[in-house]
């Protein structure tokens, strides 16, 4: 189970408009799409950059995963997402490797992709998202 790519690196922000304006002014990049995902409690913007993406995440409220992250850690890097071709095979492999999962089964994430999160305890305190893009 080799991931195909680093799909995106995600940044938690308090003000999505302000962060996108800073990103454009500093690096000339703009989002391919912007989307509210109620189930995850976020509004996200996906910014293509070379062969990968930066993702900006703004919580829809304080009592959401990203809202709690901002309250405890402040703005900054939130997770890194790895692109896989078969998310069930990836989750099965990770379970066999003893990695603790957040999501035992895939769910639908941004862009309509199937996604699952791996617990930060599995790899050096780092929240990893799997994104199925075949």
């Amino acid at each position: 189970m080799l991931p195909l790519n680093v799909h995106h690196t995600a940044i938690a922000v308090r003000d999505l408009d302000a962060a996108l304006a800073d990103l454009e002014a500093q690096y000339g990049v703009t989002p391919a799409y912007r989307e509210v995902i109620e189930e995850q409690g976020v509004e996200e913007a996906m910014v293509p950059l070379g062969g990968s993406h930066l993702q900006l995440l703004m919580p829809l409220g304080e009592d959401t995963p990203v809202g709690r992250f901002l309250a405890s850690r402040g703005e900054g890097l939130h997770h890194v997402a790895l692109q896989v071709a078969d998310i069930e095979a990836a989750l099965s492999h990770l379970t066999d490797a003893g990695a603790r999962l957040v999501d035992e089964k895939p769910r639908i994430g941004g862009g309509g992709h199937r996604i699952a999160f791996v617990h930060p305890k599995a790899l050096a305190g780092t929240l990893i998202e799997l994104v199925e893009v075949s």
Copy 2:
């Protein structure tokens, strides 16, 4: 000044051997090189993944930037590096855009590349590294 790519996403770790073993067991990826950079107080491993890389950073001591990061934040995502073709042009553009820099001039980083860090205050609390790879 458009960056060419997300060059790497960096993770601060306490035990580089253990983190590389977890990364290989879980995702089947291995480092292209591993390097001690005394000037930055780190040992780093660069792991190619698709069109980008994951970088693991282990401090050489507690009184280093990554050592202090681990003491205050714990293991986890540390910075994201953007590949640029001309680092002086990129730094000049960022200065014009009002972005606060850590490094006003490029220095030599991992892999012999010229690098510079942009202050987290410039973009949503996120430490950004510029890496010149032409």
